[in-house]
Amino acid sequence: MVKFSAGPVPYVYVCTRMRVRKSKLIPREDYLRLLNMSIPEITRFIEETQYKKEIDELASSFHGIDLLELALSWNLAKEYQSIQDITPGVLKRFTQSYLRKWDIQNILTIFRGKAQGMKTGKIREILVPGGELDKVFLDRLLKEDSLEKIVEALRGQSIYPVIAAGITTAIEEESFAKIENALYKQFYENLLSEATSGFKGGRQFLEYILLDIDMINIRNMFRLRADKLPEDASTMVIPGGRFSIQDFQDLVSIEDEKSFIDALKSKVTLKPLLVLLDAMTGERSLREIEIDLIKVQLAQMESFSKMKPFSIHPILTYLEKKKYEIFNLRAIARGKEVNLPTDRIRGYLVM
């Protein structure tokens, strides 16, 4: 039987859909308007956008900030599922691998929530079942009453060995940071091996992974310097990117801010990042730096997706931008809930 290849058609189809979806994301001007609204007004506003279905579904059972938070989480999870349904072949594989990041995030949210004695419903509101672990599985984990039982329920999952190895120490130290680092290291290791295993389009996926690793490492450098905890530096670095463990430690241990920025500039080649580092003069808060780094990463991803319009890039760019839209809306809603001044909330937005 003759087999017909669809050629680039499925790539073109799905990448165009991602571009259209990206164009529907909330623009900067609307965020500025949202900053001046109350929570019911924000809810009404987003009901007129892509979130209508979720708001309508949940409006009878929830209200206020709970309604907003849950609607945002549901929408994001639904979006992730829908993208996995429409992406073809190897793009689907890459997308699923990328979305496993949410498994780590969800598990850590459950651990932290349970450790702090939060209510199950409140934890559920912020879970985004976009990865391998679906809503039903996460619900099962939420019903468990102890952290040990949650870990047991994870047996058979790819993240189980890392969690099982670190959970006792985490409970003793009352901190999940080490497990988090180990999980992310495993996650990026898996992504790197998948991108280099010879699948078509793997090179583009690798470009994204290396960018992501570098940006996380740079962010961690700034965080470590702000926390003044350089002794933990080697455990914080994610290997595989531009920075080796030694580079990372050397950079973190530089005490003078200007010398650190200069040393960092000599290590990176990314133009927007160099521009950002050049502009880093005077006192800047860690939050401002982190937001700027995210903006640089998004700008670079946008540029990748323009250079390779029918690859994994447009999908990942949309996924990242959608994620930050949800983060922004959540930041505005939470800020409004605790009556933070508008300028302060604006500082948390990626726009």
Binding site: V9, V12, Y13, T16, R17, V20, R21
Partner: protein
């Protein structure tokens, strides 16, 4: 030599051969431009379906964009008609 090869051919045979060549030329003109149009429409069509799936309002516009490569096959058809008639 060409002249020697033509020895033995009647004018009817030469005329028929010329008509055959024209027909082959016309077939190549229509066939190749048809394939070129198909290749161009393949990408545009799939993008058009993707865009319409997300936003139904663009249907009219993307339909127009999808048929633009049809001009290639129309050029081929014109060349074929000129060859034959």
């Amino acid at each position: 030599m060409v002249g020697e090869e033509l020895v033995g051919l009647t004018p009817e045979m030469i005329e028929a051969s010329q008509a055959g060549m024209k027909a082959i030329g016309a077939a190549i003109a229509v066939g190749s431009t048809g394939l070129a149009s198909a290749a161009a429409e393949m990408a545009i069509g799939s993008a058009a379906v993707g865009a319409t799936a997300e936003n139904k309002d663009v249907f009219g516009l993307v339909l127009l964009l999808t048929v633009i490569p049809e001009t290639i096959v129309i050029f081929g058809l014109v060349v074929a008609l000129l060859l034959i008639f």
